[in-house]
Symmetry: C2
């Protein structure tokens, strides 16, 4: 029996797939080649997780892979109604990005509390100007997103002495329901977006929600760019409705050099890097091989996405 065909959507080849030799016939495609190869693939690895090609190509003619794995936490770029309604199993890279993103958020919180951006600007000007920082311990955060990333962020902030509330779609132990969001945002010093992008969350951070925040509050988005109405955020920061913000994700990536987001005072812009620590590509490759071996053996897969909800449900 021939080895199953593993289609890999990639811009750069994934590392660490050597263990698949003899167990899979690997066919690499770019965005343009995906549609033609989809009917011949048993499984699909979405290595280029910044691509919309799967969502665009999936509705075409012919058989479809029975399993799709994406080397990302979010699956919003992948899912189309035809994939959601199919029997194809979708898995994600849960387990790789949580700890790095939690550290990244903690770093932003501390940097904003201690005005590190101001320090670096004054250093450029060779100016000695003492300022008073904020104490992070004892401050309040609300983390929107009760998946593994949101929970990891909450855990790291709690380790710094922050009082953290986590909100999710529905209330459950340790998680507030979406109906509690306004109440929590009103008193938060830090509002951290780590939600999946779904129809329910798209554009949720808008003028109304920024208007509820304290003037001393700061907003951080490490979820998906389209969770935020970017024009509303620019207004909120520019008009000092809130004290500052940091965005690692954007509605369109890479952010255009002409975007007005780049030079809003009080807004930190980073290039979708919060989860990416040295060795992350190796870890993503190894994780896929682990899953592939389970799949080839007919065993149940972890990290299975609830396609209707748009994320991997938490069971604890």
């Amino acid at each position: 029996m021939p080895a199953p065909t593993l289609l890999v959507l990639e811009a750069d080849p994934p590392p660490r797939l050597g263990r698949l030799t003899g167990k899979a016939r690997i066919v690499s495609v770019d965005e343009a080649g995906l549609a033609a190869e989809l009917p011949h693939a048993d499984t699909l690895l979405v290595w280029d997780f910044t691509s919309d090609a799967v969502r665009n190509a999936w509705p075409g003619e012919g058989p479809r892979p029975r399993w799709v794995h994406t080397a990302s936490a979010g699956v919003d770029r992948l899912l189309c109604p035809e994939l959601v309604d199919s029997d194809t199993v979708v898995t994600n890279a849960r387990g790789i990005f949580e700890a790095p993103i939690a550290e990244y958020v903690a770093g932003l919180v501390l940097a904003m509390a201690k005005d590190l951006p101001g320090t670096l600007e004054l250093q450029r000007q060779r100016r000695w100007r003492h300022r008073e920082g904020l104490q992070v311990a004892g401050s309040r955060a609300v983390v929107i997103g009760a998946g593994p990333i949101g929970r990891a962020v909450a855990g790291t902030l709690r380790a710094l002495g922050v009082t953290v509330a986590v909100t999710g779609r529905t209330a459950r132990p340790g998680v507030h329901g979406a109906d509690q969001l306004d109440r929590l945002v009103i008193r938060a010093d830090w509002v951290v977006s780590a939600a999946p992008l779904t129809d329910a969350t798209r554009g949720m951070f808008d003028a109304r929600l920024f208007g509820l925040m304290q003037p001393s509050a700061r907003f951080i988005n490490v979820g998906r760019g389209q969770l935020v109405v970017e024009d509303d955020l620019v207004a909120a920061v520019s008009k000092r409705w809130i004290a500052g913000a940091a965005l690692d994700v954007f509605a369109r990536e890479p952010l255009d050099a002409r975007s007005k987001l780049w030079d809003v005072p009080g807004l930190i812009i980073s290039p979708h890097m919060s989860g990416d620590t040295v060795g992350w590509r190796d870890r993503l490759g190894e994780q896929f091989v682990d899953l592939y071996e389970l799949w080839a053996a007919g065993k149940p897969l972890p990290n299975v996405v609830d396609k209707k909800r748009g994320y991997v449900p938490m069971h604890d």
Copy 2:
């Protein structure tokens, strides 16, 4: 019986001394006026802790205050042989600066691990350039200084998953002796200076010690500027012996606008602010009043400095 005379060395008046009304005759002096008033003071509050005036004026003629309190953690600017050899009790502001400094150091560690300075520079240039951060959890730090500040720094870094060794003058439970420093520095990712400035520590961070560090190591000084041979640090960072450094304290403060330290790539310069969070002056004033009430009642004082060692010894 008249109220005792409390001499306050200040540039700006301390807040929160209202509770002393009727309990102390408060005489404020600046640096120039200190010598003339010292013989008439029962106690001395060194509110302007950046001044060398006490060390200079103390050796003069006449009686001396029986108690000196400094609104700082370090007492290096204060102590002269005549004060060390006298019966005068010296107390410091232990308890005020520990938690803020620990947060500040954690913020620097995370900012350097995630290259936040690089992100801000790229933002200025409107350039989207993805980079990979370092994971802080699992990295190794050595904190030099086993006093309350060093221990607080160690605790906060440990909360982030860092493996931390603390070194002090002598080995004791949880603290490595100075003889272990080289061994620990060689394998550290983060070398944090939180030591008191004494004859034993002055200039301890020099070319020899920077030469022992890994090329990927980073150095942070929140202790005293004179712990570091600044020219050696400039060389170590410039020549990439180490990956970066952050200095919050300097041999001469404020740092001169012409200092070469300002624009060494990879070196973060901040204006001695690591311990100073909003409300810190109020907390320093309240702490002094608490101590004053103990002193006036003839009760033992906390935070008593071992003048020969140059810091408050830890007893746990």
